[in-house]
Amino acid sequence: MFDPINAIAQWLAELLAGWGLSSGLVNLILTLLGVVVVASFVLIVDIFLVWVERKVVARFQDRLGPNRLGPFGLIQPLADIIKLLIKEDITPVGADKVVYNLAPILALATVLMLWAVIPFAPTMLGADLNVGVLYIVAVGAVGTLGIIMAGWASNNKYALLGAMRTVALTIAYEVPMVVSLLVPVILARSMSIHQIVNMQTIWYIVAAPLAAAIFLISAIAELGRAPFDLAEAESEIVAGFHIEYTGMKFGLFYAGELLHALTMGALFASLFMGGWRGPFVEQAPILGVLYLFLKAMFIYWVIMWVKYSLPRVRIDHMLNFNWKFLTPLALAVVMLTALADKALVEFGVSAGSLSYSLSMLAVNLLIGWITLSLLRSYARIERRRVAAPRPAASPEYSGVAKS
């Protein structure tokens, strides 16, 4: 059992106790230490993410990307940071100072808060909340607040438009997100993410692919990334909510956005792809961190893939898509999952077993098939409606009886 982190924690605890501190104080110190470690760790990863993002988008657009500073341009992000730091820090006239300065901090802080409930390894987790799943949603909501504050406080109509779009977006896409989050909760019979990961001897993406897909989509919407990046649609509202921000404030938004994407990846990995699970993780829990980040990076890459392949959707389309398609589908999925789970348990199929997952998969496929056929017929009707000629004043339309 090779577990350096806990070993260090153990050693530190003994050391501090040796200095004659009360146990409560020791715990406090250790907790704070842990917070600092995690936060700085993810922030360093964040810096690395800047480079990843630029490289990947470069590959998507058939370019090379940064390659001058250091090997493969690895130093580039540092250069960017320096640039951001030495830029002039503007606060527009008529801006609401406090709120304006509060917003970027809130935006980044909420993202960091999300990491509190993500289990890194079987033995390493910040807080094992018994309502962890809800906690995610709550923090996400607060994150939105940051954007709204930024948009409103910078006293700029583009920023305000961006903020309002964000509100519409978030309020709308929180619904399918929460509903789809219920599916792993049903499967694991617990809202604690730690518990959910523990239950995943078979990844939930097998048992609940539809829920995973819905979660991913609404997560992208929550992130405000393409194709849902209406809050900062450069071509429409110059840069959206952070149009007025410069220097490190903008940097915070930027870091927050990137890190949020990775965080969503980590959440997705923990909820649907078995979190830290992987070979030999029982022997060496430290490996769990590696696995988690690999999976998270994979999802992050998927998100980037979507971002750089799809065009931006119009806002009404986006809301229609959510209210008329995603939400009903999510509700149907969660209902049928609950029913199927009940039935399977009735028939003595133990939850989490292979047959259980496969039958859940079958249920999902069935729903998917029905959805597709309904969509197909709906599309047919739409096409007919659009293609149908509408005579301006023919009798049957103008209500004049033919005679």
Binding site: D96, L134, A141, M149, M164, E174
Partner: protein
């Protein structure tokens, strides 16, 4: 004075202050943000009362939905958000009187009540409040009727809001 009590006093002070700011702030968006702070304080109070689920739900619903909706509405009705001019209607003095009278009455009655000194019984760690809450909400001998009524109410509100806010032009 246990740490818990200190925390509570701080939180309560923050919440009440934020509440006062809510009702007095001249700028509506500010009062909305203060409202969020107050709601957050209430959430912390829930945590102190070992109602973690309610605390999180408080954040999700009040901050995540209600407050943001309010800000949205304020932005939609923008030109009065930062209006100068009286923020109180002319009968604010009456309101103040009534509020104070009410508080006085409540305080008097509370101080006269013997149950005020009740001690909180300990909750055994095996007693999973979230699970119990869920059971209570849906079990037939629990509060399933109230639960259903609430859901119907929400549906009605959904449709009603749609119909009312529908722009018929």
């Amino acid at each position: 004075m246990t740490p818990l009590q200190i925390i509570f006093i701080l939180v309560a002070a923050m919440t009440l202050g934020a509440g006062l700011m809510v009702v007095t702030a001249r700028n509506l968006v500010h009062s909305a943000l203060w409202l969020i702070l107050a709601l957050f304080g209430v959430a912390i109070v829930y945590v102190l009362l070992q109602a973690g689920f309610l605390a999180v739900v408080q954040v999700v619903i009040y901050i995540g939905a209600i407050a943001i909706l309010m800000i949205f509405a304020i932005m939609l009705t923008r030109n009065i958000a930062t209006e100068s001019g009286p923020r109180f209607s002319e009968n604010w003095s009456w309101a103040l009187v009534i509020a104070l009278v009410l508080f006085g009455t409540l305080a008097w009655m509370l101080s006269g009540w013997e149950g005020i000194a009740a001690q909180a019984p300990a909750i055994s760690p095996r007693f999973d409040t979230v699970r119990e809450l869920g059971l209570a909400l849906v079990s037939p001998d629990g509060f399933v009727l109230a639960f259903e009524v609430a859901s119907v109410l929400l549906l009605a509100a959904l449709i009603g809001a749609l119909v009312i806010a529908w722009d018929r032009r």
